[in-house]
Amino acid sequence: MAPIWTLQLHPISFQPSIWVSKHQTHLNFMKLRPEFRFISSSSSSKQLNRKFVLGANSGSPSDPDEPAVKTQTITVAVKDQLSKWHGTINSFPPLVFVMNRYGGRNLAIGLCIAIALLVIAVRVYAARKLRYRTPGSVADLVRRGQLRSDRRGISRPLMYEDPFNNPMVKVGKSNSTVEMCGKVYRLAPVTLTEEEQAIHQKRRSRAYQWKRPTVFLKEGESVPADVDPDTIRWIPANHPFATTASDIDEDLAQNNVYQKHGVPFRIKAEHEAMQRKLEALQSEQKLNNLMIDPRNAKDFERPFKEHPRSREQVEQSSFNNQTSDSMPPTSDPAPISVESNSSSEETQKL
């Protein structure tokens, strides 16, 4: 650093030629900084001292008070020797070159960092996208409903267990504010007391007297003898989706709801009816060589307009518990009733 220091003092010392020449060799000898080498090579022109001052000054960019010195030297050059304008111009390239070199390095480093950051960001984004979009991963099986996410541990459990105290919800210290989703809200205490609640209840019990209807009659029907008229609900005859006609056997329906195993009642009944018809047909046609066997029986199903798949499907779905997404709606297995036609409406398809 010492030689640079002395060089910068030159314009002030007004003895440039001596000092410079003295140090020039020294600098050439050093060959540490490429700027200096360049300057010394350009010193073949006549205005060596002036030029060199400029060059040397610009050649020490690491010095903090460089700009001041530089401008000073430039003004000196312009004022003093307009005739040596050419020389000053000549001396500019090194300055520009050095400035470019130095600033360019900064710029390049910055650019490199920016590009690296960008590449990292893009990579992370792409990786994340890929993780979600990977075709054919197990996650797709979960999405399609073939696997249960909780069993596989794919669906992460609730990240926070307490909806009242978690990173998204924070109650303020004085219990007067709450921060939810980044917004702070003022809290107001609930003032409703038990007495007020009781007063409201009393008011309502006076205002609304009601008994839940248990008997539903179509308009025009006669009231049964042992029924409280308050609990009758009158249904318009043209009600869109309600029917009062209760041709369902209540006990049977209750048993159906309670049934835990086995073939559902109607399916069983239909199957038995089919079996009976089949047997009757067989004895009639004396097809004795044909064994009565469920597999052979299937051949006779179609003539009786039975739903060929109804039984299998019910049995299958007893394992599946309606988990078959793939079951198309057209294969709605509600069979056509043989015994009762009471359910013709329920079996309508969607």
Partner: protein, 336 residues
Amino acid sequence: MLSLHNPFPTTPKPSINLNNSTPPFSTTFKPHFPNTLKPPKPHKPHFTTKTQSLLQYNRKPQLAGETPRVVVITSGKGGVGKTTTTANVGLSLARLGFSVVAVDADVGLRNLDLLLGLENRVNYTLVEVLNGDCRLDQALVRDKRWSNFELLCISKPRSKLPIGFGGKALVWLVDALKSRQEGSPDFIIIDCPAGIDAGFITAITPANEAVLVTTPDITSLRDADRVTGLLECDGIRDIKMIVNRVRTDMIKGEDMMSVLDVQEMLGLSLLGVIPEDSEVIRSTNRGYPLVLNKPPTLAGLAFEQAAWRLVEQDSMKAVMMEEEPKKRGFFSFFGG
């Protein structure tokens, strides 16, 4: 929109007691990872840290009352958010580890299956069970996201359920679910249709408690009051309300009744306050209830809190009023 569900309540609760009984950990109960959603790994090798994180990780609401809790979600007025509430509260309960059966009692206009994204899987309904076309377990649609959540629809659109039969059928249903092999569900949540017609009667027949959904407008409130009266006549005493579609900005400008105004008019304790949230509609389109959203939204959090209170038979002690300008810290830029 939040009850002051103090993490350190003065009234002792079992779950908190666990924390307080271990003095070294009671101070560290609050998560020391405030800016992440990640709980500490429950499987730490060190024993003490394990107990601590487990206690924290397993904080669950304490189930109050007898199971199955049969809750009807009703409103009187239509379109105030009964089905939305059923889906979100139901799934929240399932996520908290309770087994839930959601019943869509809306005979004519069922849409709970749509909100849950289960519409393609409803092959059988309760009507088919009654007819003996299938067994009850075949009609229950199990949600694949949370297998302790099941959906049962009462009937298919356009099919006719003998009226006056629905109530009985639901009582049988509750009985059957109680005695089923895998155990009684903790919650049976019934999505009630609008109005006070046969569908309403069907839906409230098996219920022991009710959640009244209302919006802070006068038409909805009048219906809500009427329905509350009918429920009380029917002997359902435990009625709490959820105020839905609340806009704090409008309350502040006095353009909307505040939740406390609503409470003054109805005299019901609050189970939850749900803000108006555009995510509700988006989640309906997706068939993916709001509470499953990550990161959680304001309405989703409110539903979760409501579910928590439902479990504990708790009610709100304070409600969120208007927004306060937040002091912006340096790290708020990073979501701190």
